[in-house]
Amino acid sequence: MTTPLADVAASGATLRAFLHGLPGVDRVGADQRAKMLGTRSIKTTAKAEAIDLAIRMVDLTTLEGADTPGKVRAMCAKAAHPDPSDPSVPKVAAVCVYPDLVGLAVEALGGSGVKVASVATAFPSGRSSLEVKVADTALAVAAGADEIDMVIDRGAFLAGDYLKVYEEIAAIKAACARPGDEHGAHLKVILETGELATYDNVRRASWLAMLAGGDFIKTSTGKVQPAATLPVTLIMLEAVRDFLAATGRKVGVKPAGGIRTTKDAIKMLVLVNETVGEGWLDPDWFRLGASTLLNDLLMQRQKLATGRYAGPDYFTLD
């Protein structure tokens, strides 16, 4: 990677100096800004557009110990055709599964245009050796994953060993390469902001992930609370905005975990619109990681079109 900031990772000391030299984040101010943007009132035509955009941005996710081939196939069918009764509903951006189910998802989605993302690197805790994490990633890439959602080593980050986190991300990025595929799998870097605790850490981890080559930065695994809060997403959006200005490279953002309602999703879109602008209002640059959000989006979409709410039984549960 050649960016104007390539040399900041020359050593642990330079990396630390750089990350600690980033402007701080004032928690009260960030919370207040996110709260104010949460009061935006998105109605009628704007709401209809927002709902369709949000559907196109969904990474439909199942990350359970109990996931089975049947469960994953059903979810893939829903991802390609979210509402079987209404062909005007767009398909979602991707499905997100564990590495061992990638092959199955690729097969189930063949030709639909829905991407397959896989978590990797000893998800969700990230507690394993680099060798295991690379192998975990390679397994998913070989099985045809379009995107890899890795977790950072929060222990190393909190211990101040930023270089270890950086090198691990770079190694996973290398493992995303695929013979005959120029770009390889897209790398999303999960910061698990609920464990980083402070907004200063969120900003530093965002820059660390981008410097190390991440294509996307993602808030959470969904296994830790709090997950994708508005202020945390705001800070990550500010980071990708500033990173683009500093390096010329554009990075995507994916809030994941706890986004359950259409209202939550629209607040996220407002945040994107008023922080980084419409350049990020596209599934290539912004995703919503969620499992239950899609049905609420479908329900609100139908309500807007018909003026009535259909009962939950009219929306499929896959």
Partner: protein, 474 residues
């Protein structure tokens, strides 16, 4: 994508009468002066015809207040508190109505009247209701006495909030009041009069007389008024100070400001940018404590201004009743003329003027958010209070220079300091000659916190325990 569709708050929640009288002794009565129209500054549409109080009307109001004072001041504090709590609750219940009316009459965005003004108004009444039976513990002796009749004159920038700041402490301490709202924004005060009736407040405890400057002068100069409270321009404040000198009337004046918002190079930049926006563009800059002078450390000036301009280009100017509007209308043609004049002077003096691309509505009084860079302390836009959405940007090199420039103004109402270094905040706060110093925030208000100025920004404090002193015979 992503254009927000119009999301207007319904104006049907408020019933505006074609004409309004004065509120004297618990009744709405005609005024002897020439009535006037109050207009919606966003559309120039006339909202209602409002009575003007003559000297004789003011005299009747003061007499009504005097008559009510005996029983009101003799009432146990716990009983007065019940009325204040009741008023506070009715304000909360009718807050949507009050917010819409405030926005219609004043031009401020509904988001601000709904989320800032009205919650603070109710909070102020709740806060002083709590003091009414505890005055003996406020530090002014075991049983401090009220002053009598308070004559209060308030401005148009926060019509209902300034009313709350004046009436709540006065009533809690056992005074009765004659209040004159601003000529361009009388409607919420008249709705408040209706709320006083709804709360069964004894007649004469609150009297509201509408009118222009002469009505205000009649209130201030009335010989039977014991206390004068004024919020408004330094110019009028001077006149008032002169006219009450030697009369034995107690006075508090809350006047103009030209606050410095000081940004150090180690500030949390994104939040500082928000703070600059809140500081000067909140309420179209019609805020006496607005952060109208941005003092930014030279080493980050360029970067900060770039961020600020990017942020300003996302401000949404337009219909104040739209829930997504950030910048509303200038309150009056007169004020718009003043903002235009001072901005033109700024340009003529050589400062660089910048505004984001934004379309101003055809009707109504509008001015785009404006930033002047390359401003020197000697420029008028760095010295005169513009009272509009106009920011003057200056730079400094060291903390000492920041303090020197911040204090180099005849005003001293507020200041802001932005740094991640706690010790520097304390160092600055010790040296800034301003009644309020905000650290890593701006334009934050709380009824428990005293507010008031140094130098030509006035004297006395409103809010908090300190605010009681202005209404007690101590």
């Amino acid at each position: 994508m992503f254009e927000y569709a119009p999301a207007p708050e319904s104006r049907d929640v408020v019933d505006i009468k074609p004409s309004y009288g004065l509120f004297i002794d618990g009744e709405f009565v005609d005024g002897a002066g020439t009535s006037f129209k109050t207009v919606n500054p966003a559309t120039e549409e006339a909202l209602a015809e409002v009575a003007a109080a003559s000297q004789a009307d003011v005299d009747r109001a003061v007499q009504a207040a005097r008559k009510a004072f005996g029983a009101w001041s003799a009432m146990p504090g716990s009983e007065r508190a019940k009325y204040l709590f009741r008023i506070a609750r009715i304000i909360q219940e009718r807050s949507r109505e009050l917010a819409v009316l405030e926005t219609l009459d004043n031009g401020k965005p509904i988001r601000e009247s709904r989320d800032v003004d009205l919650p603070l108004v109710a909070a102020h009444f709740f806060y002083y209701a709590g003091w009414a039976d505890k005055l003996g513990y406020a530090g002014y002796g075991p049983a401090p006495k009220p002053l009598g009749v308070a004559g209060q004159v308030i401005p148009w920038n926060f019509p209902l909030l300034m009313l709350a700041w004046k009436i709540a402490p006065a009533l809690a301490c056992g005074n009765t009041v004659v209040l004159k709202p601003a000529e361009t924004t009388p409607l919420t005060a008249l709705l408040f009069a209706e709320i006083c009736r709804q709360a069964d407040l004894p007649p004469g405890v609150v009297n509201i007389v509408t009118g222009a400057g002469e009505t205000g002068a009649a209130v201030v100069n009335h010989p039977d008024v014991n206390k004068v409270a004024f919020t408004g321009s330094t110019e009028v404040g001077r006149l008032i100070a002169r006219s009450v000198a030697g009369t034995g009337k107690k006075v508090t004046l809350e006047l103009g400001g030209k606050a410095a918002n000081v940004i150090f190079d180690d500030a949390a930049i994104d939040q500082a940018v928000e703070g600059i926006v809140d500081g000067i563009f909140f309420n179209q800059g019609h805020v006496c404590c607005a952060g109208s002078r941005l003092l930014v450390q030279e080493s980050i000036a360029e970067e900060l201004l770039e961020s600020l301009k990017r942020r300003l280009s996302r401000l949404r100017l337009g219909d104040p009743l739209d829930k997504n509007t950030d910048i509303g209308a200038i309150n009056s043609a007169e004020q718009l003329a003043r903002v235009r004049e001072l901005s033109d002077i700024g340009e003529a003096e050589g400062a660089e003027r910048w505004s984001p691309a934004c379309t101003l509505p055809e009707r109504g009084f509008w001015f785009p958010p404006t930033v002047f860079t390359g401003v020197a302390q000697s420029h008028r836009i760095a010295r005169d209070e513009v009272f509009g959405p106009v920011l003057a940007v200056l730079t400094f090199r060291t903390p000492a220079e920041a303090v020197e420039k911040a204090n180099n103004t005849p005003y001293g109402l507020s200041a802001g300091v932005w740094t991640e270094k706690g010790s520097r905040i304390l160092w600055m706060a010790d040296r800034l000659r301003a009644g309020v110093v905000w650290a890593n925030t701006f334009n934050k208000f709380d009824p428990a916190s005293p507010f008031g100025g140094y130098k030509e920004s006035g004297y006395g404090r409103e809010g908090g325990r300190h605010g009681l002193e202005a209404y007690l015979d101590v």
